[in-house]
């Protein structure tokens, strides 16, 4: 639409506006495709819910929750006789064996889960997209080198390596995000993105760019990679799921030095011997359910995006 008006009026429209209009238009069509699928909307709804959940924590801490009692790491409620205490109006999800409020821990951890997931997804996608585009574009020895590396990385069992690493150094949130991001960036994601890049590389507009004198760098970063972004976005969602899951498992085994996260909450439950005592359900279920739902939400969004990116999966 907007290009049509540009052409008829012959007025000068800056390039960025044309680009913005194009971008908005494709966003609208893609959103329509995405919204057709209730599954993606459910996932998006859950993610937004958790986002608000994370945002609410600092507000609550500053208004109604005195930090001596409700601090997720160092709080302690002296007015309750026995910890862990069951849910009550004072502690909506009860307290943990150390007398800390479970709901506050749950909310406080949410932002770190988001940060971890998004950081590792960004690392993965930056690495995988660059390597995928470069090795598809140049082929030859570069391609062989990176693909063999990818084979090696895929082969390496993920969890054991993280366990070995955690014995080696102190694994905090950032280190964990980087390791997960790098491992999945050099591994399977690269192969998928490279195969997509191979399909794009032979399209006429790449030829056109080369004929009009575009250099390798220009073609890779201005023509190849922008066309790889949809599939990269898709894989970001799956990496987020994997990262949150891995963090939870490692923290559950007590192999990270993270102060508070959903996995640590379950680890605390285990340390104090409440893991197999199912009457204290509030120690185990809220955190586990949060991990499961957030992982599932990102995965659902990924699947819905898959239908947008890959037309062969659509119903029509």
């Amino acid at each position: 639409m907007s290009e049509g008006t540009v052409a008829t009026q012959h007025t000068y429209v800056p390039l960025w506006r044309v680009r913005l209009n194009l971008f908005l238009r494709s966003l609208r069509t893609n959103w329509a495709l995405f919204a057709e699928n209730p599954i993606g909307l459910i996932g998006l709804g859950i993610i937004i819910f958790f986002g608000l959940f994370a945002l609410a924590h600092p507000i609550l801490m500053n208004t109604v929750w005195p930090s001596k009692i409700y601090d997720p790491v160092s709080g302690y409620d002296m007015e309750v006789a026995f910890h862990p205490a069951p849910p009550s109006p004072r502690h909506l999800l009860g307290t943990d064996p150390l007398g800390r409020d479970v709901l506050s821990q749950l909310m406080y951890s949410t932002r770190y889960e988001f940060a971890l997931g998004i950081l590792s997804a960004v690392v993965t996608v930056v690495i995988a997209t660059t390597i995928g585009a470069v090795s598809a574009y140049y082929g030859g020895i570069i391609d062989t080198l990176f693909m063999r590396l990818a084979d090696l990385v895929i082969m390496v069992p993920f969890l054991p390596i993280l366990i070995v690493l955690s014995a080696l150094t102190e694994v905090g949130m950032i280190e964990l995000a980087l390791v997960i991001g790098i491992l999945s960036g050099f591994g399977g994601t690269t192969i998928v993105i490279k195969s997509q890049a191979l399909a794009i590389k032979v399209k006429p507009f790449i030829e056109a760019a080369r004929v009009s004198g575009g250099g390798d760098f220009h073609i890779i970063f201005r023509h190849l990679i922008p066309n790889l972004l949809p599939i990269s976005l898709l894989y970001m969602m799956f990496v987020v799921t994997g990262a949150i899951f891995s963090e939870a498992v490692l923290s559950f085994f007590g192999l990270t030095t993270i102060q508070m996260s959903w996995g640590i909450m379950i680890n605390t439950t285990q340390l104090f011997g409440y893991l197999l005592r199912f009457d204290t359900w509030w120690l185990l279920i809220p955190a586990s359910l949060a991990i499961t739902t957030l992982c599932a939400a990102f995965y659902l969004v990924g699947r819905a995006l898959d239908e947008v990116v890959n037309p062969r999966l659509r119903r029509r």
Partner: protein
């Protein structure tokens, strides 16, 4: 084909060496060794700790130790475990690897079969509430926090219903006067199950070559005869009681892993089927007026099988490492639990042994995947 195999085996060997190098130095770079763990024990003087270090060879430079390790490894000597000194690593692995493999092979095969069948049907009948419920269930099973899911299974089947034991490999009280060791019984269980499965498979294979009318009878027979044979074998040798104890402990972990793997397989089959259904040959098959069931099972599903096959084989390799979670929750003494415990106490030989086994399993399963393609898709040749 043979040339391909030779090349592949060479590549695998190189990959394994790289893998071993990387993991050895990672494990070795940990601060502190097994002798340091004894530092808190007041009965052991520092001189004695140094002597222990020298005895275990921990005072030599890492490169020398690594070269020694690799040379010994390929001569079949995996060293001696530090924590269960002086038990050889190979002995521990021989005991624990079958437990892991049985657990995950059973679970993978069952979930693969069930997931493939349901995914196929789901892709065929698109839309409606069935699709959404199935997708949500599949995604939930796929992304569920595994330790929690395992705990919930324990809660349901072991605590609330009290049908099955909550964990461990066997119930020690029942084994007090057992005539042979648990491992012996377990080996016999594996052998009998394997023989039974082979007979079953042969029967099904034969039934496809029989006239259509007698097929159901032959199939029923080939299912019942091996089953009866196995039951009779365990009844007669008087060890059935012990085998049943191990089997009871096996059911819950297998069920858990199966359900988790099922979600992924079902979703993957569905996606793969949806892509296949867009192909022109499906349209042709429809135009020819073939029955719907034939199009679904013979034209679409057969081609949709390839990615699912890849994921099955990878998941068998990968599940051994993922099995750390399940094995820990169920206290199932397999290779994953061994690895976790060994790397926590800097037991380098045992951790290396377990990691190498996991690596070998992964490599072999990748090779099996590639060979399987040739049979599944005649277009692929090496």
């Amino acid at each position: 084909m043979w040339k391909f195999l030779g090349k592949r085996l060479l590549q695998m060997l190189i990959t394994l060496l790289l893998f071993q190098t990387a993991t050895y130095f990672l494990l070795d770079a940990q601060p502190g060794d097994i002798a340091d763990l004894l530092a808190l024990n007041p009965d052991i003087p520092p001189a004695e700790r140094d002597r222990l270090r020298a005895q275990l060879g921990l005072d030599r430079p890492p490169v020398e130790r690594f070269v020694n390790y690799i040379f010994n490894f390929y001569r079949g000597n995996l060293g001696v475990s530090f924590q269960e000194y002086p038990r050889p690593v190979i002995d521990i692995i021989k005991e624990r690897l079958p437990r892991t493999v049985v657990l995950f092979l059973t679970a993978s095969l069952v979930s693969f079969w069930a997931g493939f069948v349901t995914g196929k049907i789901l892709a065929w009948k698109r839309g409606g509430w069935i699709e959404y419920t199935a997708t949500i269930t599949g995604v939930t099973l796929y992304t569920v926090f595994t330790p929690w899911f395992a705990l919930m299974m324990i809660w349901l089947f072991a605590v609330t219903l009290n049908w099955l034991p909550a964990g461990k490999f066997l119930d020690p009280l029942k084994w007090l006067d057992a005539p042979i060791s648990a491992n012996e019984v377990f080996t016999r269980m594996i052998t009998s199950a394997f023989v039974g499965l082979v007979v079953m498979f042969l029967g099904f294979w034969l039934s496809n070559r029989m006239p259509r009318r007698s097929r159901p009878a032959v199939r029923l027979l080939s299912f019942l005869v091996p089953l009866g044979g196995i039951l009779l074998y365990w009844r007669l040798n008087g060890l059935g009681f012990y085998a049943w104890d191990i089997l009871r402990h096996l059911i819950l972990p297998v069920l858990t892993v199966t359900l988790i793997a099922y979600g992924g397989t079902m979703l993957l089959t569905r996606t793969s089927m949806l892509e296949t259904l867009r192909e022109d040959y499906i349209l042709t098959a429809r135009a020819k007026g073939l029955p719907e069931k034939d199009i679904r099972d013979k034209h679409a599903a057969r081609n949709a099988l390839l990615p699912v096959w890849t994921s099955l084989v990878f998941s068998i390799g990968g599940s051994v490492s993922g099995g750390i979670i399940t094995e820990t929750i169920f206290s199932w003494p397999g290779i994953g639990l061994t690895l976790l415990n060994a790397s926590l106490v800097a037991d380098i030989p045992l951790a290396m042994g377990a990691l190498t086994m996991i690596g070998v399993l992964t490599l072999v399963s990748h090779l099996v995947a590639d060979i399987g393609y040739v049979f599944l898709d005649p277009r692929i040749r090496y």
